[in-house]
């Protein structure tokens, strides 16, 4: 029997484990701190940075949620994963396999996803209430699907943060591993795309786990929308999360069945395909908005 094929009563058991893991994440102080910071910073941005034209650089704001909630979630999920493994000798001699425990841990991504979604809703509602400059890349200047795709990158990144944390907790046992992973994630994200942003090949930056689609305000008052297909990129982000889950499950040798290997290959193939689609479709080139007079530097 594959360790991933649950017995008749297994679905209920898996749901119960998933609920426990989701509840643990929802109560985890590191995660709660990240959520608090994310919403406080968003609120401060609305209050302190908004000018007469409205909320500036709106489409770059999902990054705040991804940064504060998503990155702290990496640490929280890694700690959750390691914390039950201290009792491994007892839990490993129960019928549930490590693969099932890992799959249940993936449910710890639900609270961060919900928090990221709430962040995105607050962002959209806040911007609707406060207003934006008519030149701003937002609803009206961009197709709705593109705006929604970029806004929803926040909850997906928060979900991915949890899944990356589970992967980290399963494979990296040294103290501070999750902090090292967070730093590595930031470095890879910055170095992997910054050199490409202003070039004619900017669409190939979308291999990184958080691709920028918006530069913020430029000195001449314009804003640059960077090339690529944000909807496909959203799918790529989800595929990265799925890869993190199967990578974490791979830690359990008993789970490495032929079917599971095929699943890993399929997820990896989907990630590559979505990356290629994200890079080759959608906006072909970087696009500058009309200048917003109040944002012209100097």
């Amino acid at each position: 029997m594959s360790s991933l094929s649950l017995p008749a009563s297994g679905t209920a058991g898996h749901r119960a484990m998933a609920v426990i893991e989701a509840r643990r994440m929802a109560r985890h102080p590191v995660f709660l701190l990240g959520v608090l910071l994310g919403f406080v910073v968003l609120g401060l941005y609305f209050v302190l940075v908004t000018d007469d034209s409205g909320v500036p650089a709106v489409l770059s704001l999902p990054l705040l949620g991804a940064f504060y909630i998503g990155l702290t979630t990496v640490i929280a999920a890694a700690l959750l994963t390691r914390s039950t493994e201290v009792a491994v000798e007892a839990v490993a001699t129960a019928p549930g396999t490590e693969a099932r425990r890992t799959l249940a841990l993936a449910a710890a991504g639900i609270p961060p996803f919900v928090a990221g979604l709430a962040f995105s809703v607050c962002l959209v509602v806040g911007v609707e209430v406060i207003g934006v400059a008519p030149q701003e890349w937002w609803f009206g200047t961009l197709p709705d699907w593109q705006v929604w795709s970029i806004v929803l990158m926040c909850p997906v990144a928060c979900l991915d943060g949890a899944l990356l944390g589970v992967l980290t907790g399963r494979w990296l046992r040294f103290r501070g591993a999750s902090a090292v992973v967070v730093v590595a994630l930031i470095v890879v994200t910055l170095l992997g795309q910054t050199p490409l942003l202003e070039t004619g090949s900017s669409e190939w930056r979308v291999w990184v786990p958080w691709a920028l689609f918006h530069t913020g305000d430029n000195a001449d008052g314009t804003q640059t929308l960077i090339a690529g297909n944000p909807a496909a990129y959203l799918g790529y982000q989800l595929a990265l999360g799925a890869l993190a889950v199967v990578g974490a499950i791979w830690h359990d040798r008993t789970a490495r069945t032929t079917r599971f290997r095929a699943l890993v290959a399929a997820v990896a193939a989907a990630a590559v395909a979505l990356f290629v689609i994200a890079a080759t479709t959608g906006n072909q080139d970087n696009r500058d908005s009309d200048p917003i007079p109040s944002r012209i530097a100097g």
Binding site: M1, S3, P7, S9, G10, A12, G13, A16, M17, I20, R24, R27, H28, L79, L80, S83, T84, V86, A87, V88, E89, A90, V91, A92, T93, A94, P95, G96, R101, T254
Partner: protein, 289 residues
């Protein structure tokens, strides 16, 4: 059906033979494993608990070879309760939360029945009133009882307890004895301990391990009988005694060796017999009728 069958079981860590050709069978009832540190007790219990595999020999648990297939080991684990010697605890969980987590792993899927079973297990170890306290705030003894509670979930057919009484006070130990004696009527309980009085009070059978081999396997009374005539109360410590100490009455309890002058024969305890079993005259002890 014999619950546990071990034949020719061996386990080696590097150059150390933790277990060497052990042949044992266990059925319903409570069996105590005694032996010095490094005797192989924990290795034996971990093999029975399906935590590790033996390098050699045959292991059958509840009629199954746990390493034949995933289905076999899962079937065994459904009937297994295991308290490891050193069990870590998730610091963010309450006692109830941790036991519930293990209960879910043990396939207690119905929420109502699961909660009821978790409460029962916590009550069995006297922790019902600490159920909502984080494990990190519990004392060492209380944590040990949390570990016991997870092992007791579902009244398992096989209960494997590695030093279950460590950190328990006398009243808690008495409670545990009561719980295990009830379980022993319908389950196979295998426990290791350094507390000979726990074995004397609880177990009908005792296995003494030393150097990875079985030195004694039989009834507790039979082990005690091996020490008859080799324990004395004397005014002086025994010169060549295996061990002797001054008791509260002022007389010396002398185990082994030759009786000091004026010594009175004393009723041996299980501890006396155990010490003699592991002493240099062990072979002579075993040869006695």
């Amino acid at each position: 059906m014999t619950s546990i069958e071990l034949s020719g079981v061996g386990k080696t860590y590097g150059r150390t033979h933790a277990l060497a050709d052990v042949d044992l069978t266990f059925d319903r009832g409570v069996t105590g494993l005694l032996g010095p540190n490094g005797a192989g007790k924990t290795t034996l219990l971990r093999i029975v608990a399906t935590s590790i595999a033996a390098d050699r020999g045959e292991v059958r648990l509840l009629g199954r070879d746990p390493h034949r297939s995933h289905a076999d080991v899962t079937a065994v684990r459904r009937e297994l309760g295991y308290l490891p010697q050193e069990l870590g605890y998730p610091s963010d969980m309450t006692a109830f939360g941790f036991i519930e987590y293990v209960a879910v792993l043990k396939e207690w899927n119905d929420r109502g029945r699961r909660s009821q079973e978790v409460r029962r297990a916590l009550e069995a170890v006297g922790l019902a009133d600490q159920a909502t306290v984080r494990i990190s705030r519990l004392s060492g003894g209380q944590r040990r009882r949390v570990g016991l509670a997870q092992a007791l979930l579902g009244d398992p057919q096989l209960l494997v307890l590695d030093e279950p009484t460590t950190g328990l006070d006398p009243a808690q130990r008495a409670d545990l004895r009561r719980t295990l004696s009830v379980l022993g009527h319908r389950s196979t309980v295998l426990l290791s301990t350094h507390q000979t009085e726990d074995v004397a009070a609880l177990c009908e059978r005792v296995v003494v391990l030393a150097g990875g081999t079985v030195r004694f396997d039989g009834a507790v009374t039979d082990l005690v009988a091996t020490a008859v005539g080799r324990v004395w109360l004397a005014d002086e410590p025994g010169g060549d005694a295996l061990v002797s100490w001054r008791t509260g009455t002022g007389r010396h309890h002398v185990v082994g060796g030759t009786p000091p002058a004026g010594a009175d024969p004393a009723e041996p305890t299980l501890e006396d017999a155990y010490l003699l079993m592991l002493g240099p005259d062990a072979d002579r002890v075993l040869e006695r009728p």
